[in-house]
């Protein structure tokens, strides 16, 4: 056992300082401002210096929590994000496994297609999907013979379409990461399992999954954070939140209620709530993993 020398802490701190400075500058300060703004009545008048600042304390939060629409949008967002995360993981994992089983040329084609989806800018991707699913001129309706059917009208159909788009543009990250993970599993381990007479299913469950666990954690948390914060797809594909706002998610709602309406204080409060929720989800997830005996 090594004994910690006096001064080690200071040296460690010195080494960490650059990273700390970057983090404080890029993350700490904006979050500080966000929290601060959420405590004030801060509209366009106040920003331009035309009206004095009024300190509200937690009033913005009280307004938010007493708004029934906020709660329904929050529930909707959680549900939507959950579907997107699950879909992304399932599609990404399935294709990663597929990629390890097929010939080189097929794998190259698969990767090129996935990277294409990944590289497409969100705005362009959403718009192209809208073209494909256009009620009158869309390719999909032509293929299905359902010309005239609107994919963005019904609440659940619209959510489904947007979820499909989100999964389409986020599965490549999961696929590439997991593919790399599977490839990194030492051949001897799998060979040993095979010699012990383990079935393919058993190998997958008892050998591969535990080895892939750290990677799965990373992609899951990443996906949760991304999908909880979806803005572009909903904003573009449902034309700002669907008929009568029934396809709203939290980010679009915050934009509409707060930023478009110049209520920056209220908007900041929504931002703080979202940040806290995401932190909670991430912490809870990490804790659950720790409990089950797997350190990250």
């Amino acid at each position: 056992m090594m004994r910690a020398h006096k001064g080690d802490g200071r040296i460690a701190f010195a080494y960490l300082t650059p990273a700390l400075l970057v983090l404080v500058g890029l993350m700490g300060y904006p979050i500080y401002q966000l929290v601060l703004i959420s405590l004030f009545d801060y509209g366009q008048e106040q920003v331009s210096g035309g009206a004095p600042l009024t300190f509200l304390g937690l009033e913005n939060y009280a307004t938010l929590f007493s708004d029934t629409k906020f709660w329904s949008v929050l529930g909707q967002t959680v549900g939507f994000a959950a579907v997107c995360v699950l879909g992304t993981l399932v599609v990404g994992a399935a294709l990663a496994v597929l990629a390890t089983r097929v010939r080189t040329w097929a794998r190259t084609v698969l990767f090129l297609a996935a990277l294409g989806a990944w590289a497409t800018p969100t705005v362009a991707g959403s718009t192209i999907w809208l073209f494909l699913f256009d009620a009158n001129f869309g390719f999909v309706n032509e293929l299905l013979g359902t010309t005239g059917f609107s994919w963005t009208y019904d609440r659940w159909v619209a959510f489904g379409l947007v979820a499909a788009q989100v999964i389409w543009c986020s599965f490549p990250f999961v696929m590439v990461t997991l593919y790399a993970g599977i490839k990194a599993i030492p051949g001897e381990v799998l060979e040993a399992a095979a010699l012990d007479g383990a079935s393919a299913l058993r190998t997958a469950r008892s050998v591969m999954l535990p080895l892939l666990r750290p990677l799965l954690i990373v992609v899951t948390i990443q996906s949760i954070i991304w999908d909880f914060k979806v803005f572009t797809q909903i904003y573009i594909m449902t034309n700002g939140g669907g008929i009568a706002g029934r396809n709203l998610v939290l980010n679009v709602y915050a934009y509409q209620q707060a930023f478009a309406a110049s209520e920056y204080g209220l908007g900041a409060a929504i931002g703080v709530v979202m940040t806290l929720l995401l932190l909670l989800v991430t912490l809870g997830y990490l804790r659950a993993l720790r409990k089950s005996g797997e350190a990250l």
Binding site: S150, G241, G245
Partner: protein, 420 residues
Amino acid sequence: MAAGLAVTVLAGCAPVQSGPAATGADQQTGQLRVWLFDEVNRGPKEAVVKEAVTEFQNAHQGVTVDVQYIQVQARAERFKAAFSDPKSAPDVAEFGNTDLAGYVAGGGFGELDLSSWADAKDLLPAVLDTGKVDGKVYGVPWYVGVRALYYRTDVFTELGLKPPTKLDDIAPLARQIRAAKPDLLGISAGGKYTYGAMPFVWANGGDIARKDGDKFVAAIDSPESKAGLRQYTELIADDICPPAQCAGNGGDASVEAFRAGKAAMTIGGDFNRKSVDASAAAGKYGIVPLPGKTEGSVAPAFAGGNLLGVMKGSERKSLATEFVKLLGGKQYQRKMFDAMGNMPTFGDVQADVAKANPVVEPFIKTLGAGTKFVPVTANWAKIDAQALLPNLIQEVATGGNGLDAAAKKAADAMNAAFAS
């Protein structure tokens, strides 16, 4: 010293505010920055503006005018940024009249002195009102936009129909047309088309809000308003304009269906005329004022339109005001009509234009019959951003919520916005 420190700490503990806008300076030379809205077909507008710029530069030695065209969709962000940072702001800007109250409250535009301007006396009073907040003028109406009823003459002739003469006739007429021609929308009426729907409310004696002292109170849930809403949302139904097709449409999309030859009627503005003339409906459409409650009357239209104003923080206020008077004056309004079809805001220029172009007559008749406007309060921007009226129309039209409940919800949300 401790007190000083406390002040510093306190000051550090508040969100940033930009300093008071520059005042005092009124330079007579240098660059005048102008923001105008970009258009789908900007060429003719740009040509007229260039002419005005040349004239202005020739009349003012040492002055250059820099015109920037900004996107209408991005206007909120652009203007907010300009208000927050006067250094990046223009001196003169074009903006929508519904945005005025919010912009003035945000400290964006300064009061205009039009007393020495000869043209000013001919500005139509109802239109000039859209450029006022609390009785003070902040913008010169550059053009006004009113909507009327477009209908397909070929379809009406074929079915032996006449354009509606009262509001109650529209729904039955539209139903009859769709029954006879199932591939046509009886009338293209969008669920997000606030300014197409409001005339129905106004014609029934309702309103968005009424003034109570110096505060606004929502009136959208009054019996009269609800009668109007019922009449409009009745149009968004499978036998006239199916919700799946129409509920998500705003004004542009509603007119687009008419342009594509897929609708027998629609509510369109004078500003849509040029684009309809370049569409599948060209040459086979007519326009009448949107009829009112009683036979032969006209439903009050929304007095939309754009203003030209001078930014409060401008360092060249006199020059900026001069430029507004030139570009917003009679001569250039007339040129803008010829170039873009923008309806002038001067009574005499309007009469002139109508004489030369009989086709704009229904719009001028609509203007003459009296127009209405949204509540002039900075909170309107909030109500607009929160899409309260479109949501109300969509909720009723798609059957998600009964009219009474939806109207009450919208009124409550509106009152909350008025109170803030």
